[in-house]
């Protein structure tokens, strides 16, 4: 064998080099791009929408953004879902107040939890406005400072939206058709506003105490 074909011995430096990743660079870039898109990671969304097509679209977009999605078909089911959530929150707070062992507290995980509601406005049985009014009434009656973010998701023209939505107790509205970027930015900005408002109120209460 000629010496020119011999492989040079591996240097000590080569032995110390970190193992090469098995994932090609392009896939790494794609993975990191997907990670960047998951701006709603960790959020739980209740999607209230009667049309199956729009349920499918909305769910796909929200899941692509990293959110967990629960879907109900109308305002009645939305109110039922929130009734469960409020019951769960009440049970959790009672358990915490009673200083129960960890095993008992975990039972409250059977109750749903939502960080926000995306509410269609026009639905059979109970529309989005009526459902929102009902949810706000339940929150007030529960007296636990619950104030879930409710964003109207509507096909109506912008001029038709504001008054009715805010009068019903909604926090914001988004116009259909769904767009991932608009959805993500609206949800994140409105959540942040709501959380800042809650902390300001808590701070104000503390200062006056």
């Amino acid at each position: 064998m000629s010496t020119s074909n011999e492989q040079p011995p591996q240097s000590a430096e080569a032995e110390l080099h970190p193992a090469l990743s098995l994932i090609p660079i392009e896939e790494e870039a794609a993975d990191s791009e997907d990670e960047e898109k998951r701006t709603l990671e960790g959020l739980s969304v209740l999607l209230v929408e009667d049309q199956v097509l729009l349920q499918v679209l909305g769910t796909k977009i929200l899941k692509g953004l990293g959110a967990t999605v629960s879907v109900v078909n109308n305002g009645v089911q939305a109110v039922e879902a929130m009734t469960s959530m409020i019951a769960g929150e009440k049970a959790k707070r009672e358990a915490e107040a009673a200083n129960v062992q960890e095993g008992s507290i975990s039972e409250t995980s059977v109750f749903p939890h939502y960080d926000l509601i995306l509410m269609d406005c026009k639905m059979p049985e109970m529309n989005g406005y009526e459902a929102t009014k009902e949810i706000r009434k339940m929150e007030a009656e529960a007296k636990m400072d619950m104030d879930i973010l409710i964003i109207a998701f509507t096909s109506n023209a912008p001029s038709e939206n504001g008054e009715d939505c805010f009068a019903a107790g909604m926090d914001a509205y988004m116009q259909k058709p769904a767009n991932a970027d608009v959805m993500a930015s609206t949800i994140l900005s409105k959540l942040s506003e709501k959380r800042n408002r809650v902390s300001s109120v808590a701070e104000a209460v503390e200062n006056t105490a």
Partner: protein, 151 residues
């Protein structure tokens, strides 16, 4: 030009024509972006849902318009639904007819509503054929081992 490149070229040209002629708008492109490896048939599934829905709504509207006393509020709610779904899938021409249709509902103009119903039916039918052609091209490209060009 090899078979895959030819098919890809046909796909790009055909896709461009759908946008240029106003059959679909950017929302259709948004829909295409939602396709992924876990659900490569997502757009086909959504399109199927849309045409099933629109067919049912057209029938309901036709029934309502045949009644001796036309319930324009009911028809308007169906049109509203169709407008919502058509705009969500990027079916631009269908959506535009729905806008006019809603105006006729508000004016309680039965003749206008009937004309719009015919137009909606016609536009849905054309769009269905065009999308079937587009999806067929996609299948041919994939079967030939190529990738689908992005818009």
């Amino acid at each position: 030009m090899d078979v895959v490149s030819q098919l890809q070229r046909q796909f790009v040209d055909y896709s461009a024509s759908l946008y240029r002629e106003g059959y679909v708008d950017d929302q259709f492109n948004q829909l295409q972006q939602l396709k992924d490896e876990s659900n490569p048939d997502f757009v086909v599934e959504v399109a199927t849902l849309f045409f099933d829905d629109s067919g049912k709504l057209v029938n309901k509207m036709a029934d309502a318009l045949e009644q001796p006393s036309v319930d324009f509020k009911l028809i308007d709610s169906h049109v509203h639904q169709l407008k919502g779904s058509s705009s969500s899938v990027g079916a631009a021409r269908v959506k535009n007819v729905c806008i006019t249709f809603r105006n006729f509902c508000e004016a309680q103009n039965r003749e206008g509503c009937l004309i719009c119903l015919q137009q909606v039916n016609h536009e849905c039918s054309i769009l269905k054929n065009k999308l079937q052609t587009l999806f067929r091209l996609e299948q041919q490209i994939t079967a030939a081992g190529g990738s689908i060009p992005m818009h």
